[in-house]
């Protein structure tokens, strides 16, 4: 890496993960890849290929047992649990398949939750949350409870929650897994729009149509990043393509 190149948001160097068992199970091994700022990457693979493990390691929810993972230039393997938590809260925005919205909180309050744990000043949270909801087209649903929202709207609230903290990486785990075709298009349109604005996005999906919207697809097979395909999706303005791709 030279000084002129941007620091990759995600940098995997020979990353592996073995669960001790018994029996021991190797979920990932020898994974090396870089995800640059502003990239839109999809991770695909069959069930058991290691997608969830990949997501957990990228999202700092789990540690690799081999190799080195740098998030935004920070070697995460050396970090204390407390620092990993703080880095996660400040750098990564999660979008889950099952939304994970608090049912008794309004859309605005749900979005504020991430800001709370990031330590954003109390007075600024509501405005930032409202802005995030406006970015996903839900400015008219600020005070709606999740029970009053459709599946697509719930997922858009979840996207807004992830966005509100201005994360370096938007990490989406099967974001359309619980949605029908129409709402899938609605949510993916929002994600694509965020990417166009320069947001780095990683989407774990088994849906080929969803993966096809990404600039690059990482194929996971038996715990190995087997291939890297480049799609026709446009890169955001001012963002270069990744040098080297996946190994």
């Amino acid at each position: 890496m030279t000084g002129s190149q941007p620091v990759p948001v995600v940098s995997f160097d020979d990353v592996g993960k073995t669960y001790p068992g018994p029996p021991p199970v190797t979920a990932l091994h020898g994974c090396t890849t870089r995800i640059l700022p502003g990239e839109y990457v999809a991770v695909q693979g069959r069930s058991g290929a290691g997608k969830s493990t990949f997501l957990n390691i990228v999202g700092l929810l789990d540690r690799p047992t081999d190799g080195r993972y740098l998030l935004d230039g920070i070697d995460t393997s050396a970090l204390h649990e407390r620092d990993r938590t703080r880095l996660r809260g400040g750098s990564i925005g999660f979008v889950f398949q099952s939304f994970h919205l608090l049912p008794y909180r309004s859309a605005l309050e749900n979005v504020q939750l991430g800001l709370t744990y990031k330590g954003t000043r109390r007075g600024a949270r509501a405005a930032l949350a409202a802005d995030a909801l406006a970015r996903v087209g839900l400015e008219h649903k600020l005070h709606s409870l999740p029970s009053a929202l459709s599946g697509g709207e719930k997922q858009r609230v979840a996207v807004a929650r992830a966005l509100a903290t201005s994360p370096r990486l938007l990490l989406c785990d099967e974001p359309t897994g619980n949605l029908d075709t129409t709402t899938t298009a609605e949510v993916m349109s929002v994600i694509a729009s965020l990417h166009r604005d320069g947001q780095t996005v990683v989407v774990i999906t088994h849906d080929d149509a969803v993966a096809a919207m990404a600039q690059r697809i990482l194929q996971l097979s038996d715990g190995t990043l087997a291939t890297a395909a480049t799609t026709a999706a446009p890169a955001p303005a001012g963002i270069g393509t990744m040098p080297g791709g996946a190994r």
């Binding site: 957990n56 938590t85 880095l87 608090l102 909180r105 939750l113």
Partner: protein, 419 residues
């Protein structure tokens, strides 16, 4: 790599979350509780019962104690007993003892009295309704006693006349053979009314009954007595064995102490040591002892309720932790540290404890007030327990919340988010 190392590597400091403040965590805890009101109330129930029982027991006890103490203390604080401890063969009280003591400022009544236990020949005093009692009749009246009292003593003892009248100084000065009898003694003797001038026989000698006493405020034991004038008793039975005679002095409230220091000198300036002056033991002290025994039992039960309440909070919070594992996972994914998750659950438990303490205290105070109102008593609610109860609730919540909070902190977000 530390935050500083990251900063050196050119990573902006804002990438590191500062984390939620204690106020934020408290907000989250209260929001969580308010969204589950039914469960929160049920969780609080044990604490409400325990704390409520504590405060109510203390309130009821204090209220009852207040009433009893008020009555007893009035009597105790205004009564002096002077006992004849002289070594002479005759009674140490001078014949004009009543007048001497009455002259002391603050005295409202005073009089000498004693129990007549033996006649001059050393035989037992026998009381009968007939001149020549049979063995059976004597046995029937065995429980009766004879007391000698000057008119002032009758007043000082707080005699309330049921029928007839008390004897006066005319009868006292002339040693007349008259008697007043307590209501219980009258029942024993079969004397219900005085219209036929009934007589009571003491060792076969008749005494005209001129009054029946329904109540003695300061000498309730005298209801079983036949009371005759002191001079009559001295003439017929001789002086009582020492220490026998005593003087009851009634003072105005607040004067007992001063009067007590003067009375012995007033009675016999040349030999005040012939008298022992003492206020009777405070009945309040005895009452306190009884109350303490009863209260301890109830407080023990209340303590058990509190423990049950704490166990309730532990169980319900544990169940809540298990139910909310996905929520915990989400919070951890969003940047909540283990400590913050633990703090939130601890805050919830403490908040439940405080709310339970407040509710229990409020219910207990209401119960004490209602009870006092219904029984026409003055409610006495000790402020200490009322103030301490919510704090105790917080303490219970804190203790009960520790284990569930640790369990919550141990939830791994990886596993939690897979649910």
């Amino acid at each position: 790599m530390s935050e500083e190392a990251a900063a050196r590597a050119g990573v902006p400091r804002r990438r590191w979350s500062r984390g939620a403040s204690l106020v934020d965590i408290t907000d989250e805890a209260l929001a969580g509780l308010s969204q589950r009101p039914g469960r929160s109330v049920m969780t609080m129930l044990g604490t409400i019962l325990g704390i409520g029982a504590f405060v109510a027991i203390l309130g009821f006890t204090a209220t009852a104690q207040g009433q009893i103490s008020k009555q007893f203390s009035l009597l105790a604080a205004t009564q002096i007993t002077v006992t004849d401890v002289g070594t002479g063969p005759s009674i140490s009280f001078p014949p004009d003892a009543d007048q001497r003591v009455d002259a002391i400022h603050g005295v409202t009544a005073a009089g000498v009295w004693w129990q007549v236990t033996q006649n001059q020949r050393g035989g037992q005093v026998q009381v009968s309704a007939q001149q020549a009692p049979t063995a059976v009749q004597t046995a029937e009246t065995t429980g009766l006693q004879v007391s000698a009292a000057d008119p002032g003593a009758l007043t000082a003892m707080g005699a309330h006349v049921q029928t007839g009248r008390l004897y006066d100084f005319f009868a006292e000065d002339r040693a007349l053979p008259v008697a007043v009898i307590g209501a219980l003694a009258a029942r024993e003797l079969g004397i219900a009314q005085l219209t036929g001038y009934p007589a009571v026989f003491i060792n076969g000698v008749p005494y005209t009954v001129i009054g029946i006493i329904s109540r003695f405020s300061r000498a309730p034991g005298e209801l079983l007595s036949v009371i005759i004038p002191a001079t009559t008793a001295l003439n017929r039975f001789g002086a009582p064995a020492n220490p026998g005679a005593s003087m009851t002095v009634v003072t105005r409230p607040g004067a007992a102490d001063v009067v007590g220091r003067q009375v012995a000198v007033a009675l016999r300036p040349n030999a005040p040591s012939d008298f022992q002056v003492a206020a009777p033991a405070s009945p309040t002290f005895i009452q306190n002892g009884i109350d303490t025994t009863v209260s301890s039992l109830f407080l023990l039960l209340a303590g058990i309720s509190l423990i049950v309440g704490a166990v309730g909070i532990v169980n319900t919070t544990l169940v809540a932790v298990l139910e909310r594992v996905p929520e915990i996972g989400l919070r951890r994914a969003l940047g909540a540290s283990r400590r913050q998750v633990a703090a939130q659950f601890l805050c919830e438990a403490v908040a439940l404890g405080i709310a339970g303490g407040l509710a229990g205290t409020a219910i207990a105070v209401l119960a004490v007030l209602t009870s006092a109102l219904v029984r026409h008593l003055t409610a006495v609610i000790p402020p200490g327990p009322v103030i301490a109860a919510p704090l105790a609730g917080a303490g219970i919540g804190l203790l009960a919340g520790i284990y569930p909070a640790i369990r919550a902190a141990r939830v791994e977000p990886v596993h939690a988010l897979q649910r």
